[in-house]
């Protein structure tokens, strides 16, 4: 006996119910005085495109190149699913709950379906670009965070269960944390520095991935069968798209076409390059050959780690942070994973979890006040190197809060989903491959 509820149908029903409730209530939205800047808007539109590209096809390719041939399409389907589903949910309620209203725990429904917005509306959090654009930009972050988790459960998660997970996790885990850190919630009020998502995106997805990997269980044949990547060239192409797209991810988090964006991009790029070099060097020394997979892993490690720091630190700090990232993530993916014995298929925890936490902490070390100086806070925020040791503790606070919320709620969510549909495909389906069994398709 099998439950066959359509996740898409239920989600649609929930949205319909919510929207009926919402449109019955008067609009509470207040709009800030419009000072929409053409340059900022132009850059942020581009940045939005760049970050969406990071998921489709960046992450899709990055991941699918590393799985076995029989699961390539299914892996891409997970990135597509996140894009399709999370976009709608974000527009419906996600953005509003994250970024409208500044309660400590959660936003309000005042911007559900972007109601109350006009072409002149701006969010107080991004006062020089249209609010519709700010919503879209933040949407691309939400999408990729969910899509990242898929890597941990690659090769074995049931597609229907993944859809439930994608929709549920966005609302229950991503939205609150995004609000806490970026939407004026308690972490923002505590002074947590997270420029583009060390906690909200990388640590969040990393912990969720670890929990999911442990709950879903190891792949059949893990440790004995040949799980060699189907086509690493796809993964390299994906890395390129991710790397370039990250200019929009970190550069765009400046929310303006300005010098800070340029500094963020510089730090980002240097961290990626150094991370790649470091991983490559370590592998060359320890294993005898510099692998391509190592180079791209190091690059992504560097990129993920610099993410929270990118707009707060000097570009040369990017080199230092990239070096630490490359080394630490290399250790996590090659030693820690094997030692503890979890099957995080594509190293979501090893790269994004470890990288995100490390980067968030290092932001507290390397933050330079000059970069965060603006009309509202002319002194900017300094880190340890400029005498503000307390910032490191605040960063730690943010890391722990994210870890706990993401870890616990991911666990609960997966357990709830498990009541409705098995998280994993059957062993026979896993052997045959997800492409054929979940989607009825195969690479020829």
């Amino acid at each position: 006996m099998r439950m066959q509820t359509s996740p898409v149908g239920v989600v649609a029903g929930v949205i319909a119910a919510v929207s009926l409730a919402l449109f019955a209530a008067p609009a509470l939205a207040e709009t800030a005085p419009s000072k929409i800047d053409a340059a900022d808007t132009a850059w942020m539109i581009s940045a939005t495109g760049l970050v969406l590209m990071m998921t489709i096809p960046g992450l899709a390719l990055f991941y699918c190149g590393m799985v076995r041939k029989k699961n390539v399409l299914a892996t891409m389907a997970q990135s597509l699913a996140c894009t399709m589903l999370c976009s709608i949910l974000w527009f419906a309620v996600g953005y509003s709950l994250s970024f409208a209203g500044d309660g400590p725990w959660l936003g309000t429904f005042e911007r559900a379906f972007m109601r109350g917005t006009t072409m002149e509306s701006v969010s107080p959090l991004a006062a020089t670009i249209p609010e519709m654009l700010f919503m879209m930009y933040q949407m691309t972050f939400a999408i990729i965070t969910v899509a990242l988790i898929a890597g941990a459960v690659a090769d074995r998660m049931r597609f229907s269960a993944f859809l439930w997970f994608a929709g549920g996790w966005l609302i229950v885990v991503y939205v609150p944390i995004a609000h806490w850190v970026w939407g004026g919630g308690f972490l923002a009020k505590a002074g947590l520095l997270d420029f583009a998502g060390g906690t909200v995106v990388h640590l969040n997805a990393g912990i969720a991935g670890l929990v999911a990997a442990c709950l879903v269980g190891k792949r059949y044949g893990y440790g004995t069968d040949n799980f060699a990547p189907h086509n690493l060239s796809l993964a390299v192409i994906g890395t390129g798209l991710l790397w370039v797209g990250w200019f929009g991810f970190n550069g765009g988090s400046a929310l303006g076409a300005n010098s800070r964006a340029a500094y963020a991009i510089a730090a980002t790029h240097l961290a990626a390059s150094t991370g790649a070099l470091t991983w490559m060097a370590l592998e060359w020394g320890i294993r005898g050959k510099p692998s391509v997979l190592g180079m791209i892993s190091g690059a992504v490690a560097g990129l993920g780690t610099i993410t929270p720091a990118s707009g707060f630190v000097l570009p040369w700090h990017g080199i230092v942070i990239g070096l630490i990232a490359g080394a630490f993530c290399f250790w996590a993916c090659t030693w820690l994973k094997l030692k503890i014995g979890y099957d995080d298929s594509l190293d979501v925890f090893g790269v994004h979890g470890v990288g995100g936490a490390t980067g968030t902490l290092l932001t507290g070390v390397f933050a330079v006040a000059m970069l965060s100086a603006d009309p509202d806070t002319p002194e900017g925020v300094a880190g340890l190197i400029e005498g503000n040791a307390r910032q490191v503790l605040i960063q730690l606070y943010g890391i722990v809060a994210t870890l706990i919320w993401s870890g616990v709620l991911t666990y609960i969510l997966l357990k709830v989903i498990e009541f409705m549909v098995p998280l994993r495909v059957s062993q026979q389906q896993e052997i045959e491959g997800l492409d054929l069994t979940q989607h009825g398709e195969a690479l020829q």
Binding site: M66, N226, F227, A228, P229, R287, K289, S291, L293, G294, S297, C333, T334, W335, K337, L338, D347
Partner: protein, 112 residues
Amino acid sequence: MKLVIAIIKPFKLEEVRDALVAVGVHGMTVTEVKGYGRQKGHTEIYRGAEYAVNFLPKMRIEVAVPTDRVEKVVEAITTSAKTGQIGDGKIFVTAIDQALRIRTGETDVDAL
């Protein structure tokens, strides 16, 4: 009639083909196969995960020849496929009971 089956290193295929044409063989079937004998495989490492690849890619050539030409054919293959390194391959000769050209219906030696 005999079926000569040769397992050779893939890069030797064109050389073997030319040698066979030179001794009057104008048709063959080629399959990409994997195998091993005394030649060991290699190890691949992906982010800390090591995989031993024991099967090496080889080419399998099958030619059907009249019995009186077998020796020449085997010699041609041996000379052209040989590198002197481990993994050069093997040749097997088996008997063919029947042969038929599908288009014309010619049988046995006329079909070769």
